[in-house]
């Protein structure tokens, strides 16, 4: 695209590769921040001697100053910007530690830009932070710091994200010492004090690096722990909330209680083995995660998957999406006190689980996709049962609207609460139904149609208000769209083999492979870096839920305690997806 080429022409120091709609830009780490500011579409100071004083996260258009030095640029690009930071991936290349930023312009979502930088210093690696350019970046940087020890200069919160604050070593580095004696299992009851100090490294005017600590909460704040054991956190999530009466002042999400190190485990597993771990990320869209990983490996192998397998996978994905949205709907209703609605949602989800049990053998962990196709052909009853389910679900959707959507108390609770603007949603990377409720068109099924989605005619559900009610209703609308997809595909499953033949030992050629899919909660990405071995060199899963919890921390302040729970329900995050 001309605009991107013009933009990249302003980076003389960068190595640029273009592959179809994907640009790879490699910059030295000193130039990272300058590049990032440019890509974000912000003003660049003519003399980039040092880093500008860091401003709070850019969320509104006012911060973007159309200054004279970028005037020519602004007219040429007409405000073109890579405003969606999909993910930040840390890498250990052996000698060097690297960071990969996946960017995308929300206006032209099929284009992508991969920004890479690296540092040779393994002892004290430091890279400039971009936390103020994208709201999502702060948390991603913490994750990279946690696993690779790369300190992001300027990020005001450099605590570990998943591991304990006193953990020794950085586990995803190749030279990590996994000796249990280094990190013994604590047996004493301990205070959470070390969670309250936020270590930061910043740069003062003279270019000196300062290490300091800031406090998370004020001393007189009334801090309530929501979780790790709490009925409304949908898993073992720990939210530390400071309150003023019933009004929320600040939310600090604290992850890692069920962190299993799936990315680390993947490095020691073969590709077919990894598939079984993917179901356990976001367990409510397990088949979709598994599908994504298969697609990614198949992309690397350049394997031709039979059309029948594509159709079956797509149908299973959509059934999973319906099941997940039903549970999400029910949980949100339960968070607002309506237990009956929860039981209704579970009841109808059970029908889908029965279909899965018959065809896949598993209910929650279906493990159905394998590399090259699906594990078994569909059960003879499959098509009939899905066809029975479609009219049943339509009838039940009416009942849901009757029971809950039209309820004056429910409407009173949801109306006007939890506003998330489109720009904010993009900056936070709040994909999926949450972003679409704010008017951000981000459906990967439409952007990069995979599997059998190109054969289905469906609408991407979009709403404009970005309020809790929009996030609520969009899920039920999406269930209807999914039913439409099922209706179109179920009778047209082509014949033939259900899986392509693969070698006994699957070795991925050297290179980087990435696959985006639309999971029930948002964009799920698989990134595989292979060195030609039967084990991957690095696997990274983008968690749609981590950004959703981050979104909660951004939109909850100012609302009431009851709203915090309801907002959590409306964002519909699943904790194992965050704690990979």
């Amino acid at each position: 695209m001309q605009v991107i080429n013009d933009l990249l022409a302003r980076l003389p120091f960068a190595t640029i590769e273009q592959h179809d709609k994907e640009y790879t830009v490699i910059v030295p780490k000193e130039k990272l921040r300058e590049t990032a500011i440019l890509l974000r579409g912000l003003r660049v100071k003519p003399a980039m001697t040092g880093i500008e004083p860091l401003a709070p996260a850019v969320t509104d258009t006012e911060a973007r100053v159309p200054a004279t030095d970028t005037e020519a640029f602004a007219t040429a690009t007409s405000g073109f910007e890579f405003d969606y930071l999909t993910d930040i991936v840390g890498m250990d290349y052996g000698e060097e530690l690297g960071v990969i930023y996946f960017l995308s312009p929300s206006r032209y979502p099929s284009y992508g830009l991969i920004l890479k930088t690296s540092t040779a210093d393994r002892e004290k690696p430091e890279i400039d932070s971009i936390f103020d350019l994208w709201c999502a970046a702060a948390l991603y940087e913490r994750e990279v710091y946690d696993f690779f020890g790369i300190v992001f200069t300027g990020n005001p919160d450099m605590r570990r994200l998943f591991l304990r604050q006193d953990w020794n070593g950085y586990p995803l580095r190749k030279d990590y010492d996994a000796n249990p004696a280094l990190n013994p299992v604590p047996t004493n009851n301990e205070a959470l004090a070390d969670m309250e100090n936020l270590p930061t490294t910043s740069i003062d005017i003279n270019g000196e690096r300062l290490k300091e600590h800031t406090k998370l909460f004020e001393t007189e704040d009334y801090v309530v722990n929501f979780g790790p054991q709490h009925p409304a956190t949908h898993g073992v999530l720990h939210l530390r909330v400071s309150l003023d009466g019933e009004t929320i002042k600040k939310v600090d999400p604290n992850f890692g209680y069920i962190h299993r190190g799936i990315e680390k485990m993947s490095e020691a597993y073969t590709y077919p083995q990894i598939l079984h771990l993917t179901d356990r990320l976001d367990y409510l869209s397990g088949t979709i995660n598994c599908h994504a990983t298969c697609l990614c490996v198949e992309k690397g192998l350049e394997l031709e998957v039979p059309e029948r397998a594509h159709y079956i996978r797509t149908i299973i994905d959509e059934l999973t999406r319906i099941a997940s949205h039903l549970l999400g709907w029910g949980c949100m209703a339960m968070d607002m006190g309506s237990i009956t609605a929860f039981v209704y949602g579970m009841r109808d989800r059970e029908k889908i689980m029965d279909i899965f049990e018959e065809t896949c053998g598993g209910r929650l962990m279906a493990n159905y996709s394998v590399i090259g196709g699906v594990m078994q052909d569909i059960h003879p009853n499959f098509q009939k049962r899905v066809k029975d389910f479609i009219p049943y679900m339509r009838k039940m959707l009416k009942e849901y609207h009757l029971l809950f959507t039209g309820n004056p108390i429910a409407r009173g609770r949801m109306d006007g609460i939890g506003y998330l603007s489109k720009e904010h949603a993009i900056s936070l990377g709040a994909t999926g139904p949450t972003g679409r409720a704010s008017g951000w068109s981000n459906d990967v099924r439409k952007i990069e149609p995979y599997a059998a989605y190109r054969h289905a005619d469906f609408k991407e559900m979009l709403r404009t208000d970005g309020l809790t009610f929009d996030r609520y209703i969009i899920r039920l609308d999406e269930v209807e769209e999914s039913l439409k997809i099922l209706e179109q595909l179920i009778d047209n499953i082509p014949g033939g083999a259900y899986a392509a033949k693969t070698k006994a030992i699957i070795k991925l050629p050297e290179g980087e492979f990435r696959q985006r899919v639309e999971a029930a909660r948002g964009e799920f990405d698989v990134y595989i870096n292979s060195r030609g071995d039967k084990y991957p060199y690095r696997v990274k899963f983008r968690s749609p839920c981590m950004t959703l919890v981050n979104t909660l921390a951004h939109i909850a302040p100012g609302t009431k305690v009851a709203d915090l729970i309801m907002l959590g329900g409306s964002l519909d995050y699943v904790v194992p997806c965050i704690d990979r």
Binding site: Y222, V224, N225, H230, P231, A232, L243, E246, A333, M334, D335, M336, G337, S338, I339, T340, A341, V343, Y344, R347, L403, F404, N407, I409, A410, G412, R413, K560, V561, A562, D563, I565
Partner: protein
């Protein structure tokens, strides 16, 4: 009509014939106490069973089916379990207030329960200020709740208790005003007097539109007083784990639990007494044959049938509606129910004067 006064009078005369007055009184006090506690416990079990069954039917489930036929003994089993459970000692609670709280809540509930007129001759004391007594004793429970929340030394319980304080004290107002509307209609605070006035037509019919409005206000406010349904903020499970009784276990928790269920019944029973004719059978003026048939059904049955109908209404609301937020809850009371109740009192005054 068979009134229970026959039985109670017979017992009284029987005792008086053989014993001096002091002993008679003593035995009767013990008897009454035992009967009230027994009925209280049995009613609680029945209500818990009913709630579980009815809520199950609302949710397309079966509810308890295993213990006894149709799961009838389930709540008995639960009671045995709760009696056998350990009372967990919690660090850094205020031990006196912590223990006192559970008793206060259940004592307030039992005191209210004791003053209900189940039938002619089946009420403990026939105060001439019965309505006032009901109001004052039932509002004692909030002290226990606040105490429990404070003494538990837990942030959730404290938020729950504060919510509860705000909620109960607010809704007490429209509850009381709705009751006063009926007091204006009957011109008496005595419960037996209020009931006997309704022998031909019930208050809800006698009082016309103002009484109907008062009935609706009373049902909403009373429902809110029981901390249930859309008004269960003090113990909002999804927000505050269990609200003010988070830290309680065993029979101490059981007291809160029993009191909650019995309060639901008490609210329904007061509604029955004030608005639906108490133990009076359904009479329609002019339909003599119908009225005579209705008279054959014992008044105690009438009372319980009406009360359980109100309880069913409360269950229905609880299992359908989501929860209100605290500001919406207070707004409903102070901006809608209370002004409405005040206007309704004026309306009732006009009704009493002109009709």
């Amino acid at each position: 009509m068979f009134h229970f006064s026959v039985v109670t009078n017979w017992i009284d005369e029987f005792l008086r014939a053989y014993l001096p007055d002091v002993w008679v009184l003593l035995i009767e006090y013990v008897l009454i106490g035992a009967v009230i506690l027994g009925v209280y416990a049995v009613l609680a079990l029945v209500l818990i069973y009913l709630e579980r069954k009815i809520c199950a039917f609302f949710q397309c489930r079966l509810g308890p089916t295993r213990v006894g036929p149709w799961g009838l003994l389930q709540s008995v089993a639960d009671m045995v379990k709760i009696l056998l459970k350990e009372l967990i000692k919690i660090n850094r609670v205020d031990p006196l207030l912590f223990r006192l709280a559970a008793f206060l809540v259940i004592i307030a509930s039992i005191c209210t329960f004791g003053a209900l007129p189940f039938d002619e001759g089946l009420l403990v004391v026939d105060f001439n200020i019965g309505v006032f007594y009901l109001l004052s004793v039932s509002s004692l429970g909030v002290v226990g709740i606040l105490m429990a929340g404070w003494a538990s030394n837990n942030k959730y319980t404290r938020i729950g208790a504060m919510r509860s304080g705000a909620q109960l004290i607010s809704y007490e107002l429209s509850c009381g005003l709705a009751m006063m509307t009926i007091v204006m209609l009957s011109g008496s605070l005595q419960l037996s007097e209020i009931v006997s006035q309704q022998s031909e037509t019930w208050n809800i019919w006698r009082g016309g539109i103002p009484a109907c409005i008062a009935f609706v206000i009373y049902l909403i406010a009373g429902h809110a007083e029981t901390n249930r349904g859309p008004f269960d903020l003090p113990e909002a499970e999804s927000e505050l784990t269990a609200g003010y009784h988070t830290e309680y276990s065993g029979i101490q928790f059981g007291f809160f639990y029993l009191a909650e269920y019995l309060n639901m019944f008490i609210i329904a029973a007061i509604a029955t007494t004030l608005f639906l004719g108490g133990w009076q059978p359904l009479h329609i003026p002019g339909w003599d044959a119908f009225n005579t048939t209705m008279d054959f059904i014992p008044p105690v049955l009438w009372f319980f049938a009406k009360a359980f109908a109100c309880v069913l209404l409360s269950l229905w609301v609880r299992w359908t509606m989501p929860r209100l937020r605290i500001d919406q809850l207070l707004k409903l009371e102070w901006q809608i129910l209370m002004p409405l109740a005040l206007i309704d009192i004026l309306l009732m005054a006009l009704w009493v004067i002109y009709f």
